[in-house]
């Protein structure tokens, strides 16, 4: 059996390279491991709040003396769950906390956001009462012509179950009524937007600040959806943006500093410029 000497060299060479690579990749373990001060502030939760929190984090981190801030999505309830499981510092929640949650978690309102009911631009319907929206989403109104629109079957678009936007919608509009099982489920504001944008029969709901010009947002009870109307309290579909902390654990000072920044005038100005309403 002939041995090929250069293959031997490659094999030996390979071994050294392998361990070197492993070493290099795992080295930072020693550096950034369990050092609490260097660990970034972990903010997890609502995908509606996420873009705004990211923006705040970006501005916050421009100051070199502060710790890093990592913002991740997953949904409002996932944010609460991450807090409970101990893998995050701050939870983001785009709906009111439930009674059960209030026992273990402390909400801090950082802003208010409107919930827009959106339809295709070509949809002739302009204004709906809360009752009508409820009947739409529970499946009792099945055709747009019942609301003065075109003769088309209604296509409902809901967010996924863990979404704060969905919960807020259910709390504000559906109350005790069940949502139709025929509803399509999309897992982000953007996906809802894309669907409604191209489907003339679709209706959905999303964060007011993210609607843009490609869709039509309906007036609710005669009130046009806008940040101003939300702050005046006239537009009824509004929900709080919350930063949530665990009640029985003292948050890390780095987390506190970030929250203080968000609540400060500077932070609030950033949120306002993005279409949100200051916290009260």
């Amino acid at each position: 059996m002939m041995t090929k000497p250069y293959l031997h060299v490659i094999a030996g060479y390979g071994k050294t390279q392998y361990f070197l690579a492993l070493f290099i990749l795992l080295i930072p373990i020693c550096e950034g491991c369990r050092d609490s001060k260097n660990q970034p502030v972990s903010v997890i939760g609502s995908t509606s709040i996420q873009p705004f929190a990211e923006l705040l984090a970006e501005e916050y981190q421009k100051n070199e003396l502060v710790s890093f801030v990592d913002v991740q999505g997953g949904g409002s309830t996932a944010g609460i769950q991450a807090l409970a499981d101990g893998i995050s510092d701050i939870g983001m929640c785009s709906r009111e906390l439930t009674e059960e949650e209030k026992n273990h978690f402390t909400p801090i309102e950082i802003a208010r956001d409107g919930l827009a009911v959106v339809v295709h631009k070509s949809n002739p319907v302009n204004n709906l009462t809360l009752q009508q929206i409820q009947m739409l989403f529970s499946g009792r109104i099945q055709n747009w012509k019942e609301l003065g629109g075109q003769n088309m079957p209604v296509r409902l678009i809901m967010r996924e179950e863990g979404s704060g936007t969905r919960e807020a919608f259910i709390n504000l509009v559906m109350k005790k009524n069940l949502v139709s099982r025929k509803a399509l489920v999309q897992e982000s504001n953007g996906a809802v937007k894309e669907l409604v944008r191209y489907d003339p029969a679709a209706v959905g709901y999303m964060s007011l600040g993210l609607v843009g010009t490609e869709l039509k947002s309906l007036a609710v009870e005669g009130v046009n959806p806008s940040a101003e109307q939300v702050s005046l309290g006239r537009y009824q579909l509004s929900r709080p943006f919350l930063f949530v902390l665990k009640t029985d654990t003292e948050p890390r000072p780095e987390a506190r500093k970030f929250i203080d920044y968000v609540l400060s005038d500077q932070g609030q100005k950033i949120l306002e410029s993005e279409g949100l309403v200051r916290f009260k």
Binding site: T3, K4, L7, Y18, S42, Q50, D70, S188, E194
Partner: protein
């Protein structure tokens, strides 16, 4: 009307050519669609900068680093463990019920949906072991995910080595380990490498399993205990949240080019190996 064999032959050839043509067309369409929309947006700054405004501006450097970090760690763990396990199973133990059972188990686990690995990784690594959303959580999850595939492909490759090679080696007085490393592994190397390259490709494209293990932080990771976002996840988030279709296409283009690159490199390496070993 009776269909003669000649007619059926001609008809079928047309249908088959159509099928082949459609398949090639679909592939070209997908690649062309993504590259057409995204290639133009891949600038040097895009590849070397960090994202700003959630990815609306800036680049994707942390995602590239994150992807390489997670994939490299996963493969560096899974490849040696997998190959050595296979060597143990094929060369150091006798074929029996236990080894058949293990082989069946590996086959099944190779086919288990990646989301289940993600679910396991999320509950076990992230929460129970308190590793949090981190690269190491993602890498361990991905390593477990590709381990069965590596074991399977390595086993096929090692089994394909003719028994005569082993006998000759023993006949020349080698120990078992010498026989394994200098004879069997050398011959089986192309097959083993195919399995490893397949696993690399799978890790790079994986989204469901990294979503809730490595997390989705936008920052550049400086240690394996930090969370990071991979390219596929970034593309998914950008396109689903509608943050920036432009950058989404560009990210997808980088992804596709990377996968094309991996395939080409693997193909070339394979030819070199096969040429040297035969």
């Amino acid at each position: 009307m009776k269909i003669t064999p000649a007619t059926s032959q001609r008809f079928v050839v047309v249908v088959l050519w159509l099928i082949a043509a459609i398949t090639i067309f679909i592939l070209l369409f997908i690649i062309a669609y993504i590259l057409a929309h995204g290639l133009g947006n891949i600038t040097w700054s895009f590849i070397t900068e960090s994202p700003r405004r959630m990815g609306r501006q800036g680049g994707i450097l942390p995602m590239i680093v994150g992807t390489i970090y997670v994939t490299a760690l996963a493969v560096l763990i899974a490849a040696p463990v997998g190959v050595l396990t296979t060597i143990f199973l094929t060369e150091y133990t006798r074929e029996g019920k236990l080894t058949s059972f293990i082989r069946f188990g590996a086959d099944c686990l190779a086919g288990i949906p990646s989301i289940i690995f993600g679910l396991f990784g999320f509950v076990f690594f992230v929460i129970v072991l308190r590793m949090g959303f981190s690269i190491i959580s993602g890498a361990l999850t991905l390593a477990l995910m590709v381990l069965p595939t590596i074991i399977r492909t390595s086993e096929e490759a090692i089994r394909a080595v003719p028994q005569a090679y082993r006998e000759v080696s023993y006949g020349l007085g080698s120990t078992r380990w010498q026989m394994v490393t200098r004879v069997v592994l050398k011959s089986a190397l192309p097959g083993i490498c195919t399995g490893i390259v397949l696993s690399i490709g799978r890790c790079v494209s994986e989204t469901a399993a990294v979503m809730l293990t490595a997390g989705s932080a936008l920052r550049m990771p400086y240690s394996p205990f930090e969370s990071s976002r991979t390219l596929s996840l970034h593309f998914y988030i950008l396109s689903r949240e509608g943050i920036s279709m432009q950058n989404a296409y560009a990210t997808a283009s980088v992804l596709i080019l990377a996968i094309l690159g991996i395939n080409v490199v693997a193909y070339l390496l394979m030819r070199r190996f096969v040429a040297k070993v035969t």
